[in-house]
Symmetry: C2
Subunit: 229 residues, 2 copies
DNA sequence: TGGAAAAAATGACCAAAATCATATTTCAAA
DNA sequence: TTTGAAATATGATTTTGGTCATTTTTTCCA
């Protein structure tokens, strides 16, 4: 169970930070950040920011999971990314200087810190490693999104589900995948009913195991061969 | 008709550069770049770089048009972007330090210059305006690609065609859109036959005018209303 | 812990768009 | 200018996956 008070989380001991984009910070920078950030506890289904609003800083996930999605014309969500401990969200729109095109919402209870825009930009100005790390990260995400687009355009729902489960396996690591059928459908880009039917197929084919809503992957190789590549 | 020799193109008088990411360069930087870059004339359907190969620098389009695409499993292209005069291509993968995930190929004869990786990175190190411009550009493209993904997932082919024609109107400006039906289908993410049928509909509805392969947009408003938003 | 509400599951049906086959037009090279 | 290949166009058919209706299960919380 997470700490539910708004207790301060210390950057220098934050497990996620070291392997994140902020891993390159020197002690002084970490201390400064630690003094200037705000820490918050989020319940499940709380939003960090909304599509259309204006970025004021970046969010660092200490613990928890956040879905990043867009709402289409009929209100249906399209999940673009799922971020977890150690990841930062909100900096992409901050740089672009246009309002958020996506919404960020917790998938589970989470501890998330907030660093103001000016503080973050100052760190970037004075830290070339951080700067280059961010440029590299943005570029890699662009490549990932190109893949995402091509998959959407050319693959069947079954193939996309296999692909998505592989991505989710990376995110959830050893834990079983714990997403609502609707969120999963909105990540794959299909109707919830279609998704449920395909999950049933995968279950019958011995690719996954399902316990209530939680999905465990049994046969990763088969998943790869369905996803193609 | 373009200059077909490999004659040098002068950066300081390059019309595209001023409004591009390289518009912030001082005279010294422009001169240095001018001395170190390579200029090339490309015929129609020549590639600048191939998916899987390793980036060695960036390409600046002086004149012409370039399609950026991925090849799906069945070899079908998915066009991700169409770049024109003043745009740079190839820098996204260069930063990510992974091989190209996309191929870049001219859609028409083009004059394109090449700046080596080290030269470009040096410019970025010493020029914060360029650096920030690139970060902003990468972030904006991420936002665009989120839209692209949501469109792919949630819109009908008809809606996506309308959306794509609006994008192409921006790219071709006053000129009629001059793409093969196959390229257009590969941008929209549909089969060529479906695309042709929908173009016929649009023609009959008085939205576009078609002269052999060239498409002119007559009713932009209707296109917007079909695209939704 | 009971009961309402939400989520998941299933079935029947339908629509959008892909595929396959073939005809017609356009274009570029001889 | 002819001619053959490539691009465009059209028709018939099939498939995928979406929609709507309903049932069953799970979750939440009063």
């Amino acid at each position: 169970m997470l700490e539910k008070s708004h207790k301060h989380i210390t950057c220098s001991t934050c497990a996620g930070r070291k392997s994140s984009l902020l891993g390159s910070l020197c002690q002084d920078e970490v201390d400064h950040m630690n003094d200037h950030k705000a820490c918050n506890y989020y319940k499940k289904h709380q939003s960090l920011f909304l599509e259309g609003s204006f970025p004021r800083g970046v969010f660092c996930i200490n613990e928890g999971m956040v879905k990043i999605f867009q709402r289409g014309d009929e209100g249906k969500e399209q999940i673009i990314h799922i971020a977890k401990s150690g990841e930062m969200v909100g900096f992409r729109s901050m740089f672009s200087e246009i309002p958020y095109k996506v919404t960020a919402e917790t998938l589970e209870e989470s501890n998330i810190c907030f660093i103001g825009k000016d503080d973050f930009l100052n760190m970037m100005d004075s830290n070339p490693v951080l700067r280059n790390g961010i440029i590299k990260e943005l570029s890699r995400e662009l490549a990932d999104r190109a893949d995402f687009i091509t998959n959407m355009a050319q693959k069947s729902v079954r193939e996309r589900l296999a692909f998505t489960l592989i991505i989710l396996l990376d995110i959830y690591e050893k834990e079983p995948i714990n997403l609502s059928r609707e969120d999963l459908a909105n990540f794959v880009g299909t109707a919830t009913e279609t998704l449920i039917r395909l999950l049933k197929d995968f279950k019958e084919e011995g690719i996954i195991e399902v316990h209530t809503r939680k999905i465990s992957i049994i046969n990763k190789e088969k998943l790869f061969s369905i996803a193609g590549k």
